[in-house]
Amino acid sequence: MNFNFKIAIAEPSTIIRCGLETVLRQLQGFHIQIIEICNMESLQESLRMHKPELLIINPVFPGYSGLQSIKDGCACPGIKCIALICSATDPQMIRPYDDQFGLYDSIDEIKHKLERLLAEEIPDNAENEEQQTLSTREKEIVTCVVKGMTNREIADRLFLSTHTVITHRRNIARKLQIHSASGLTIYAIVNKLVELKDIQ
């Protein structure tokens, strides 16, 4: 099972940045999209645009005004931050970070730190098992969606709140990796949840 994460690396040294990128890409079980940030001017905008789950930043990056101002400015309050320590650094400075990477960390150490930090984002095994198949209720909702019903109509038909319908739809999209109604239509026809004449 692969977990998708976006990780931003803010580090002025190309060698260190690319080196860390290479290490992260070797980690098994993680599917990581890397956003490279090589100067402070582009940091805020990159974070706003890509909304990474994790920021790995060199605390002595020139022009860096501190963790809090980054978190305030990027509209991503939940972002996790790891300090990338490349030189002797005041421990006081590292305290606000969720964790730290050192230049001599082994791949296993890095992996453990990531797993610990991103634990909430990684679905546990029980959830993985059920991730494959839809529940009966979810199948009913797929059927309604491909018939062109609105969330309101589905809620009325199945005696649910629209809020619950929306939650179900989000779970369906996550399980199947299908987000559009026309994609769900193919799924529903292939799995015989509906017949063509029901949806035309």
Partner: protein, 231 residues
């Protein structure tokens, strides 16, 4: 893996293409044909009246596959030339690539149950229509706006940030089709369907790269131009 590193105009065009075969599409979108022999990139560009700097900027941008923001766009970049490139890419997707995939796809799925074939075709046609809308907006609104900007005429009601905000990822839905075929296609194994799948993989990447050029080269270049006109 493709060779990393910046290409220069003294590098051979054939080396560029052999080391990074998707660049054959870039070349063609700039209007350069195959058969350039041993000539270097600069010579081939000049011979075809293509702006070398713009060509190299796009090539290096794509080859280096930078995920971050480009802050140092080369001053020599020609926006006219970039628009020609983007326009030709639109033409390629809408008038060649997607219709070509559709023909192959329809052929490949003819053995599967008719209702499944029907909804797959419906999905693909819906997707094509979305791409069409997405690209027509650029052709009808964004490019004319930029062409006027280049003449020094600023539209008080439009700016490139409007485009930047509404510009969505056009490859998302073809990714979905790929996932559906891989996970749920009910028919038999077929060479043709696998070939369609390969086409979809490469089109997905090509569309993502195209959007990337628009978001990270084109938009920043226009932002700079707007700033220059306002000052």
């Amino acid at each position: 893996m493709y060779k990393k590193g910046k290409y220069r105009e003294t590098d051979k065009m054939s080396d560029l293409i052999c080391e990074n075969y998707p660049m054959v599409l870039v070349m063609s979108r700039f209007g350069i044909a195959l058969g350039f022999g041993e000539k270097n990139i600069g010579d081939v560009c000049r011979q075809n009246k293509v702006d070398t700097c713009t060509f190299l900027t796009v090539v290096n941008f794509l080859v280096e596959d930078r995920k971050g923001l480009i802050t140092d766009i080369d001053k020599c970049l020609s926006i006219e030339s970039l628009i020609v490139y983007l326009h030709n890419a639109h033409d390629y997707f809408l008038n060649f690539r997607l219709p070509h995939i559709r023909r192959k796809l329809v052929d490949a799925i003819q053995d599967c149950p008719e209702d499944v074939a029907f909804v797959i075709r419906q999905f693909f046609d819906g997707y094509t229509e979305e791409v069409n809308k997405h690209m027509s907006y650029e052709e009808k609104n964004v490019f004319p706006y930029v062409r006027n900007l280049l003449k020094g005429e600023k539209d008080p009601k439009y700016n490139i940030s409007i485009f930047k905000k509404r510009h969505d990822q056009i490859e998302m839905k073809i990714t979905e089709l790929k996932n559906i075929l891989i996970k749920y296609y009910p028919g038999k194994d077929s060479y043709l369907l696998n070939s369609v799948l390969f086409d979809i993989f490469s089109t997905e990447q090509d569309l993502a790269a195209h959007n990337h050029v628009e978001d990270y080269l084109f938009v920043p270049a226009i932002l700079a131009l707007e700033k220059q006109l306002n000052s």
